[in-house]
Point group: C2
């Protein structure tokens, strides 16, 4: 049976030693987060993850969710009790607004707890995860009354939320949407249509479910396409003025999708048959409301990629230490046993080191990015807020695309360590692969992330974000110039940065003349960007580790440096290949007629 142990020392190292989060105590939300508070939160999240959620991961996958004839849905055995424990511990309210019962802590810290919870049980965590999406939408765009009505219940977890975008014929291109909203005399709307792929769409964990639904307002004033989409609140149970639950609304679960993975989460077809809904934000500005939440939601999916890579890694390591098969190429390492544990074999090491180097670099990069997200709201200086926003926006598609691709690839590599046993359900290795797969698809398929990066984020504000990015790297290189021990990391970073600049210049020179060049280069550019960002993350960690902070137990810093050196030797060389490919442009991709495929 698989297990999970939260990487607490890694969080402590990144938060305290590298990001020096204590230095932001002057900012709202950061004031109280002493190393002790950080420890208490990390340890609490580790405990519920390891002891409550992880034991339900395999059973939840095997059992799945059950839809009954009346459209109600039962979650797997144990999920209801676990959800109670989860909300009683306040784990859904960590970063929420204190005005509505939240704890108001920085997202940087929330990212740590999210990684742990999701590593332990990704399908389970999507229930509160979607609630957080609904919370953010109502918090950012709702009226005071809407906030007062819905947010306290969502924050405490007695109500959950969903996001309803996709319809059978449209996902990425939401302008094709058919769900209609008929204005009513009382100012509400009657919502009619079918939404699919609705995560946590119906279940038995909470008293009410608040659906956030994109629809087009019926009538001549609605613009065509994507500009005519509005956002609505559609509660499963209508809410009386005193806050108690009223009539059952006309939204029902028509089916649960049969999916490759995340079986513990109910992915629903939701049928709206004249359901009562309430406009949130301005009419026809529904997509704008979505976009303000998108960076946060997409970083959340990036965390899922990392989380599955981490838990798959841990279990593969345990297997590699235990499984006896063959002898080391350099002579027996366990001569007293019938064979050596397979962790002695270099190709097993290659797999494990690749995943480890990704996990630790990605964790640093994720928290560094999240800190910029926090600073985009909390920093005192407008310039610092702008920088935070620019970096968060620029890196979001990079992290979503790369971390989820790697999450899946790494779960697959980890599965390979088990040999034939990895193909068998009981070891749990194949579940990590199936669960990780969805993160490459939802919240914008990774190809869409790549297009967001090259087509939107690079060009925004005259390229301000990408110039800021290069400036940050250059400042780091300059500040550490002459640090001989750090030199391999500086050289790797400098080389990657130069290649990224080369690729960026190529895009500027060729993407405008023929937009297909930008599209053709987009995914390789995203990978090149991600490798550069990891090189930056590793250089920052190496710089701290080389300073040998006091209290190195178990060789933590030496191991960190060795893992970083593996990244330089074995992962960073791909940057050049991505650059070479992207510069070949659109012609090789677009040469064939569609009929020739």
């Amino acid at each position: 049976m698989p297990s999970y142990k939260a990487p607490l020392n890694d969080y402590r190292f990144i938060l305290n030693d590298v990001l020096k989060i204590g230095g932001y105590a002057n900012l709202p939300g950061f004031a109280d987060i002493s190393p002790d508070l950080i420890d208490a939160i990390l340890e609490g999240a580790a405990q519920i993850s390891e002891e409550v959620l992880q034991p339900l991961n395999y059973s939840g996958d095997q059992e799945g969710c059950t839809r009954h004839a009346d459209g109600s849905v039962t979650t797997p055995k144990g999920f209801k009790a676990a959800y109670k424990t989860f909300i009683e511990g306040g784990w859904g309210a960590l970063t929420s607004d204190p005005a509505y019962g939240g704890q108001g802590l920085p997202h940087t810290l929330g990212i740590c707890t999210n990684e742990m919870l999701s590593a332990a049980n990704m399908a389970f965590c999507m229930y509160p995860g979607l609630s957080h999406g609904a919370y953010s939408a109502i918090h950012a765009h709702g009226t005071d009354e809407q906030r007062r009505t819905y947010l306290p219940k969502i924050v405490e977890g007695s109500w959950t939320g969903t996001m309803n975008l996709t319809e059978p014929h449209c996902g990425t291109d939401l302008g094709l949407m058919r769900t209609r909203a008929e204005p009513q005399a009382d100012g509400s709307y009657r919502i009619t249509g079918t939404k699919i792929f609705i995560s946590a769409g119906e279940h038995d964990l909470s008293e009410n479910i608040i659906h956030l639904v994109l629809a087009k307002i019926a009538g001549p004033g609605t613009p065509e396409g994507i500009k005519g989409v509005s956002l609505f609140i559609v509660p499963k149970f209508l809410v009386n003025t005193d806050g108690s639950l009223g009539a059952r609304n006309a939204v029902t679960c028509g089916a649960i999708e049969h999916k490759m993975g995340i079986h513990g989460n109910a992915t629903c077809v939701l049928n709206y048959d004249g359901a009562t809904g309430y406009l949130i934000g301005e009419a026809h500005k529904g997509m704008r409301a979505m976009f303000t939440m998108m960076n946060e939601a997409r970083l959340g999916v990036a965390v899922q990629g990392l989380s599955q890579s981490e838990v798959a890694y841990q279990n593969a390591v345990a297997y590699a230490k235990e499984r006896l098969q063959g002898r080391s190429l350099t002579g027996p390492k366990a001569p007293d046993k019938p064979a050596d544990p397979i962790i002695v074999h270099p190709d097993i090491r290659r797999i494990l080191m690749s995943i480890k180097a990704f996990n630790e670099g990605a964790r640093m990069l994720m928290l560094w990015t999240a800190l910029h997200g926090d600073l985009s709201h909390a920093a005192e200086d407008a310039k610092a807020r702008e920088l935070g926003d620019d970096i968060m926006g620029l890196l979001t598609p990079v992290l979503k695309g790369y971390f989820t691709d790697k999450g899946y690839a790494n779960a697959t590599e980890a599965q390979q360590v088990y040999g034939g046993h990895g193909y068998i359900a009981e070891t749990g290795a194949e579940q990590f692969v199936r669960d990780a797969r969805i993160a490459m698809i939802y919240e914008g398929a990774n190809g869409v992330q790549a297009l967001d990066l090259v087509g939107r984020k690079l060009a925004m504000n005259g390229g301000r974000a990408i110039f800021a990015w290069f400036a940050l790297i250059d400042a780091f290189l300059t500040a550490n110039d002459g640090n001989a021990e750090l030199k391999p990391f500086l050289d790797g970073l400098r080389s990657a940065r130069t290649q990224l600049e080369d690729g960026t210049t190529w895009l500027m020179n060729n993407g405008l003349a023929n937009p297909d060049n930008a599209g053709a280069a987009s995914m390789d550019y995203l990978y090149l960007f991600a490798l550069t960002a990891l090189a930056y993350a590793w250089a920052q960690m190496a710089q701290v580790a080389l300073g040998k902070p006091p209290g190195d137990q178990g060789g933590f810093y030496a191991n960190k440096l060795a893992t970083g050196r593996f990244f330089l030797a074995r992962m960073l060389p791909d940057a050049a290949a991505h650059l070479a490919k992207l510069k070949t442009g659109a012609a090789p991709l677009m040469a064939l007629d569609a009929d020739a495929f």
Copy 2:
């Protein structure tokens, strides 16, 4: 629902135009294979694949196999009738020895039919596939009596076969095996032990199942470890001297494994409780018997990788042409429709072209290799037989490792084309991923293939095979020197060849001094080798296509060249990254103590 269309024009092009298989008519087995016969066989295999096997692929996955309380196993609905059609068509006997009822055709042709059948229904094809493994073992190592007793029934398909190697505690390291064979007074053995992961181990398709079982003979004469393993025939029903079926043998299916995919194939735990078995080949030489079959079996698994890549590609193409979402970056391509089909988007093209370029290159390389396998037996000249054997041995781990890795990766990429719909079972896209996954694991996990390549195949006979490989490429480059149109392909091949030689030299210089260097480099070396081999395959196809053979319908040759150019631009650049990584040696991988993971 997914579908499949056999790539008949591709086979015709490779067999007739590139390999010029008609030129081998002087060799046994090749005499009759005119273009007409090739067409008849290809079209027949296409028909059963498309019309009989493919329609059972999804339903077979959903239903799976059922084990009953008495240990009997029922295959999915429709499999039994399909198997009857299969054997009546003689599809299991195509390449078998005419002395036992086979048709004696070259394996090169058998590879084509195997790709089609496996693309249509991989789980189904493993039943006759395992039979062929048992056939080969008995044909190569059985006594005349054993051949006469078992082969006609296996060739006609009324009996099937299995291969029993793995035990719960040992797979790759078969020296740890515990299954025992007690010699009996009548010369037979009593076999006792448990074998796991036995594909097609028990089912309802055939009258009898002939298990080939590795076990250790009980007694003081049996050497320790791998040198003490013998091979036995253990029929499910004992066979009377008149060939009729006798008593039920003491081998039973204890369980069907719960697997990630290939649910239509019964992967069994087989319990041997003093079952009657017959030694095949020499005592204690069981592994040698296995090795003689290994190249063929491993190439068969490589074909599975290609097959899943092909069928996943075809279905993704159909979806990409049909699904309307967004507009082309260069302006609407279907202005009469609400959106353009997604095949207009460059990143969708990137995915489809990547898979197409692999499939067509891999198909050529596979058939070229299989032809060398045929020549290793059939060529008149001893030198040509030696070359065939060398090339077949050298390329087998390359194709098994690379084709199955790519089969899975490509099935995953194809799934991505569907967006959210790819994660839903009904589209069939996720089944291709789950089915393709096993091919990376069985018949020697791909890490073992890489070690076989660098640790065994490179060094055999003083490096004769790798020198022969370089000589073939050099001869091609020389013969085509000055062909201006072919130059990009020649340049790509020359560059890859130089890098492969560089990597080979590095291995020679560093692998002996520290064997961990060879292990650490092995997988990147295998990938570098595979890319070089694909560059060679593409150069050969391009050379023919540029010659514009008569009868180019639908721009077949022009499309072939465009696809080859995509390979050069977008896939071959990875060769340099693999070379850079492998030359970093073992140190970055082995730096950490096992405890540090």
